[in-house]
């Protein structure tokens, strides 16, 4: 029972982070129908940048975090401007592979600047465990879940009330109509990339504050794809619901399947198995729009 609660809470917390990262994907996909496969590397890059600011440059928190946010926004802008903008209206294959190229490039940059393969961020959250009923849960998970929730609420408000948020939703809905209304679509694209990098950075910081910075962060970013796939590519609600589902599956499955199968690390592979299963059974996900093609 205590074990179960523990898995539930950590699963929910991790799942929320996945959902956060996945939101960045969904925004880009909806506004410009570009599939951002560099998600994992963006998470890795921003986590290392945070490390650089906090540990290597030894900036205080109030200075480091705004810098990280500025950096991630700039990164998103640069990627969109230099790599994606020249490829508007190119075949989907080019759009996917260019993000792979960007991913490769970022990975090179990361290994160039931070050749260490493992590092730890300073602890932001109190570490002493807390008791919820019979379970003893590391307090960090609760904090992470709380922060993710706050970010979700902020994002929802942004998309509902802010001019830019409304414009982004409109672009997702109908690009031509938005253009006819005089909204610069290319600017929306670049904002959506900045947004994606921002949430990837937040996700990266949250994950690495618990688990440290490893190359596994790329995998964390890729696991966000299983959230996207399960929730449906073009659904915000889908991502927010599917995130905790994936997190729960991962932790529960990891907790209870490992003794049965006997191979350690079942946890890491469950999201990918879910991808395959969803692809075969319901490829457009729980809330995704089923595309009907015409010749």
């Amino acid at each position: 029972m205590a074990e179960l609660l523990q898995y539930l809470i950590s699963g929910l917390a991790v799942g929320m982070i996945y959902a956060l990262i996945a939101l960045g994907f969904v925004v880009v996909w909806k506004s410009s129908s570009v599939a951002n496969l560099a998600l994992g590397q963006l998470v890795l890059f921003s986590a290392w940048f945070t490390y650089g600011m906090l540990v290597q440059a030894n900036f205080p928190l109030w200075l480091a975090f705004p810098l990280v946010i500025l950096f991630s926004l700039a990164l998103g802008w640069v990627i969109e401007r230099l790599a994606l903008r020249p490829l508007i209206a190119q075949p989907i294959l080019s759009l996917i592979t260019i993000t792979l190229g960007v991913a490769y490039f970022i990975e090179g940059v990361v290994t160039l600047i931070w050749p260490k393969s493992v590092a730890a961020l300073p602890r932001f959250f109190p570490t002493q465990p807390i008791r919820i009923g019979p379970a003893v849960v590391s307090q960090e998970y609760v904090w992470v879940a709380g922060i993710s929730l706050i970010v979700f609420v902020l994002l929802t408000l942004f998309f509902r009330y802010h001019r830019m948020g409304i414009a982004m939703r409109a672009t997702a809905d109908d690009q031509l109509a938005v253009q006819a209304c005089g909204i610069p679509v290319t600017r929306i694209f670049s904002r959506s990339w900045m947004f994606a990098c921002l949430v990837a950075a937040i996700g990266g910081i949250l994950v690495s504050s618990i688990g440290g910075i490893t190359y596994g962060l790329v995998e964390t970013g890729l696991k966000a794809f299983s959230v996207v796939i399960l929730g449906g590519l073009d659904s915000f609600i889908g991502a927010i619901i599917a995130g905790p589902i994936i997190g729960l599956c991962e932790n529960l499955g990891g907790g209870y399947l490992t003794p049965i199968i006997g191979w350690a690390g079942v946890k890491d592979i469950i999201p990918f198995i879910i991808i395959i299963i969803v692809m075969i059974i319901k490829p457009y996900g729980l809330f995704g729009e089923v595309r009907i093609e015409r010749i």
Binding site: L37, F105, G108, G265, D268, I275
Partner: protein, 351 residues
Amino acid sequence: MTLPSGTRNYTYAQDMAILRTKTQWVLMAVFLVLLLTAPLYLGNYLLSVANLIGITLIAATGLNILTGYCGQLSVGHAGFIAVGAYTSAVLTNRLELPFLVGLICAGLMAGLVGLIFGIPSIRVKGFYLAITTIAAQFIIIWVINHWSSVTGGFVGIPVPEASIGGFTFRGEASQFYLIFGIVMLVIFFAKNLARTRVGRAFIAIRDNDLAAQVMGINIFYYKLLAFFIGCFLAGIAGSLMAHWIGFMNAEHFSLTESILYIGMIIIGGLGTTLGPIFGVVFIRLLQQVLTVMVVPSLESTFTALPSGFATGVAPMLFGLIIVLFLILEPRGLAHRWSLFKSAYRLWPFSY
């Protein structure tokens, strides 16, 4: 398709010939002679680079059939190569079966695994397929790392040298003949596949799978066939790689390697037989030049370089090259080559 001036086709056989003119025959013969005598004048190091290029070429040709001709993006090609490599390694090492059995089984096994992960391609495409194949890559590597009673797990597995009927391929030179024999078969196969019913069906599916289906092409069959052929070749390449290196662990088959394969066929030119050759030679040579010549000399001249420079500069450069090619020349080096050829034929009256 422009012909050299003065060349006319009088029969269907002439029209379908790959090599049309005497010059082409002569050039081809010279090229083959140069290639086959390469062990005589290439040193051991250069031969090993050539072998690596040959192995990569087989896998890249497979990926080109799958992605370039049939349009099914696979970001898990290194995973399929790993399946082939480990099948061959396990069969020849643990069961002590002959190399040829291992080679064939490696291809078949990789093809089968490719079929399984290719099933979603019937309903989805583009990004969905990319994600499926990334998942395939992770699942395959995970299984290899954890099924240690068979695959040796993280430690790895030694692989015996390839041998056929008592003759052992020992040393780079004899490996070279083995690898390039298969490379030539594979390229011949790929070149002709593109001109058959199957190849045309692939191209139709790539251009618009719905339209292809309406025209009566069985896309279920042809998409899975593309997956099988592509992954079969990946398996063959994997088997050769296992026997060439002599020791396998999963580090040879990372996701970045998969991305690099896609980069190779993009740089070379998707959907051409020549493309993978250009792309593979370009990337592998660049890799060697970087790691052997450029990086050490830079490191010795500039002592202040960060310590990650040696490992980080190659991925950076390759990522940059992929991005630049997609933006500036999406049809790849093969297209540039054909432009050059037609310009050369008409020179100096290029208009």
